[in-house]
């Protein structure tokens, strides 16, 4: 009898508990439905890489064809080029944004006037918020063949002939790296700045009393304090080494075909296969390759972050 009653109470309390929490689950629901559609269905849709896509049969109804799409993808030289470009560009971006970001952060923290600090911080962050379309307009104003500032004003100053920037692949690694630095340096730099501002100023004062030079202070106070931040930011970027900024690589080179050898990355390749060549199979295979390898790298990078500083790991 008692057990029955206890069971009943238990059921009742469970029901009461559920009733109490129900509004919370309902609040969670709309967002969850969106993520289910926008994120989870496409994850399942990755299987399309193993299918012969057919518009009428759709994403999940098209017939299976095994690894044909992959065999096709990896038999072209493109697979190698886009993988190389993606990884090398990201490696260059990580290196430059880290080194220059730290240097700028140290510079900005050492200005005399607080007001100037604010100006510098605004200047390095502002381009970060521009869309890739605007970015491509800015770059075009400098590099346009017939009206660009480089060909019209700057190169003649040095007695050099105009350059057809949008059809010579050799210049693009430099252009893209410079553009990316111009746009993106602020993001990491501001994180470094807040880390440096967190250092107890008495460390520097003591070092100065002991006659330490600026360089010695940087080497033995600033850099060691920054190192967990540096390691974490770097590894987080390394985790995304298989993904590129589609806007940077699609908009800034203006989709110019003659410079694909140095501007084509996995993201632009997938886009062109899908939208311009209607080659869904190959595009899907390249996308699958990016998703899976990219995911593996995220996991590995996070594993390493955990080794260095657990509190900075993503999970």
């Amino acid at each position: 009898m008692d057990a029955d009653r206890a069971g009943e109470a238990n059921v009742k309390s469970k029901a009461a508990k559920f009733k109490r929490y129900l509004p919370l689950y309902l609040m969670f629901l709309p967002g969850a439905v969106y993520l289910l559609i926008n994120n989870y269905i496409p994850m399942a849709g990755l299987v399309v890489a193993f299918k012969q896509y057919n518009v009428r049969k759709g994403l999940f109804g098209s017939p299976w064809i095994g690894f044909s799409n992959f065999k096709f993808l990896f038999s072209t030289p493109d697979a190698m080029v886009i993988t190389r470009n993606t990884i090398l560009y990201n490696a260059a971006f990580i290196l430059i944004n880290t080194v220059l970001g730290i240097i700028f952060a140290i510079f900005i923290c050492d200005t005399i006037h607080k007001k100037m600090q604010k100006v510098y911080q605004s200047a390095i962050l502002f381009p970060y918020l521009m869309s890739a379309v605007i970015l491509s307009y800015i770059v075009y104003a400098f590099l346009s063949q017939s009206t660009g500032m480089m060909n019209k004003s700057i190169l003649p100053l040095f007695g050099r002939d105009p350059v057809n920037w949008y059809s010579e692949a050799g210049y693009w690694p430099f252009i893209l790296i410079f553009t990316n630095t111009w746009k993106g340096i602020g993001y990491g730099c501001l994180i470094y700045i807040s880390a440096i501002n967190g250092i107890d100023p008495t460390y520097f004062e003591a070092a100065e009393l002991d006659g330490a030079t600026k360089w010695q202070q940087i080497r033995s106070i600033t850099l060691p304090t920054l190192s967990p931040t540096i390691i974490t930011l770097t590894l987080l970027s390394v985790g995304r080494i298989f993904y590129s900024d589609f806007g940077l690589f699609y908009q800034v080179p203006r989709n110019s075909g003659t410079i694909y050898s140095t501007t084509n990355v996995i993201d632009t390749y997938v886009y062109r296969g899908l939208m311009q060549q209607s080659n869904v199979g190959m595009s899907a295979a390249a996308g699958f390759y990016q998703s899976i390898v990219g995911f593996a790298i995220v996991l590995i990078a996070n594993f390493i972050v955990r080794k260095f500083s657990k509190e900075n790991a993503l999970f």
């Binding site: 969106y34 269905i41 050492d110 005399i112 962050l125 918020l129 605007i134 996308g287 998703s291």
Partner: protein
């Protein structure tokens, strides 16, 4: 500050940072000056900070006969407003339950949100789904729905804010007073979470204002649905078409409207709203909240 003013190092760092600041400002200035440059001068002499002839023709054109341009701004503003409101509402509603320690099933729900930050299906299945299953091609939904309506990142930073800035005792007191869960959320969590909600609103708003990929993928025929970014993107390919054309009629027709100056004017006007929300961004980024904000 710490030492006598103008040490060698400080001079060096100021000089370099001033150079970089100029390097950042100049391109935007070039954009602005070009938008006020006479079209023929621009075509003949190229982009210049000191054009031989100034002209406001581009802006006159935009406001007189630029119905397409004004329409694109309309789409940008409309989609940004609707998208931002929905984004913030969905994010806050999702973040609140996740911030409550005692909610049964919280870990699973957390993982459900968080996993979308680690792994994604990429554009191919996403494109095939939105066009093949939901048929959003050439509808306003195409500007609104894909990717931007909710981001796990925003949910996570709001959740962390709720968790760390609102004491549990406040919630408990409200519950003892018999307030419903929804009342607690709307009367306590939302007002106290205002700083983070404003931040998330600027992220979401910037996302919608700057998006050009949705239009690129999903707006194919109905170009009335182009936002400003899509319009600018479209004008790039049109100019390229004109430049590659040997037909002299096309070229002279193009010269009649100040097309280059118009492009620069549209681009410049598109940057203005970003200046409005810039202080909020700066505040957020300067606090270095970007790291660790997703955990907790």
């Amino acid at each position: 500050m710490r030492e006598k003013p103008f040490s060698k190092f400080q001079v060096l760092s100021n000089v370099i940072m001033i150079i970089w600041t100029i390097l950042v400002i100049l391109p935007f200035l070039l954009l602005l000056v070009s938008s006020f440059t006479d079209e023929n001068t621009l075509v003949a002499n190229g982009y210049s900070f000191f054009p031989a002839k100034l002209s406001a023709a581009a802006y006159v054109y935009i406001f007189r006969s630029g119905t397409k341009i004004l329409k694109a701004y309309g789409i940008s503003i409309l989609v940004t407003l609707i998208g931002t409101v929905i984004n913030v509402a969905l994010s806050a509603m999702m973040a609140y339950p996740l911030s409550l320690e005692k909610l049964p099933g919280k870990n699973g729900m957390n993982f459900f949100v968080f996993f979308t930050m680690l792994f994604n299906g990429g554009i191919v299945p996403s494109y095939l789904m939105w066009t093949g299953i939901f048929h959003i091609k050439d509808t306003l939904a195409a500007q609104l729905l894909p990717n931007l309506l909710l981001s796990a990142w925003n949910v996570m930073i709001i959740r962390t804010y709720f968790k760390t800035s609102i004491p549990d005792s406040l919630y408990e007191a409200a519950e003892i007073d018999g307030a419903s869960q929804f009342t607690v959320f709307s009367k306590i969590a939302l007002p106290l979470g205002k700083p983070i909600l404003v931040t998330v609103a600027t992220f979401a708003g910037l996302g919608y204002w700057n998006v050009w990929t949705n239009g690129l993928y999903f707006i194919v025929k109905n170009k009335d649905l182009y936002n400003v970014q899509n319009l600018l993107n479209q004008m790039v390919s049109n100019i390229q078409y004109l430049a590659s054309s040997t037909n002299s009629n096309v070229t002279s027709a193009a010269a009649a409207i100040p097309s280059t100056a118009i492009q620069m004017a549209i681009a410049f006007v598109a940057i203005l709203p970003i200046m409005l929300v810039f202080p909020t961004f700066q505040k957020y980024y300067s606090k270095g909240l970007t790291l660790g904000g997703v955990k907790g």
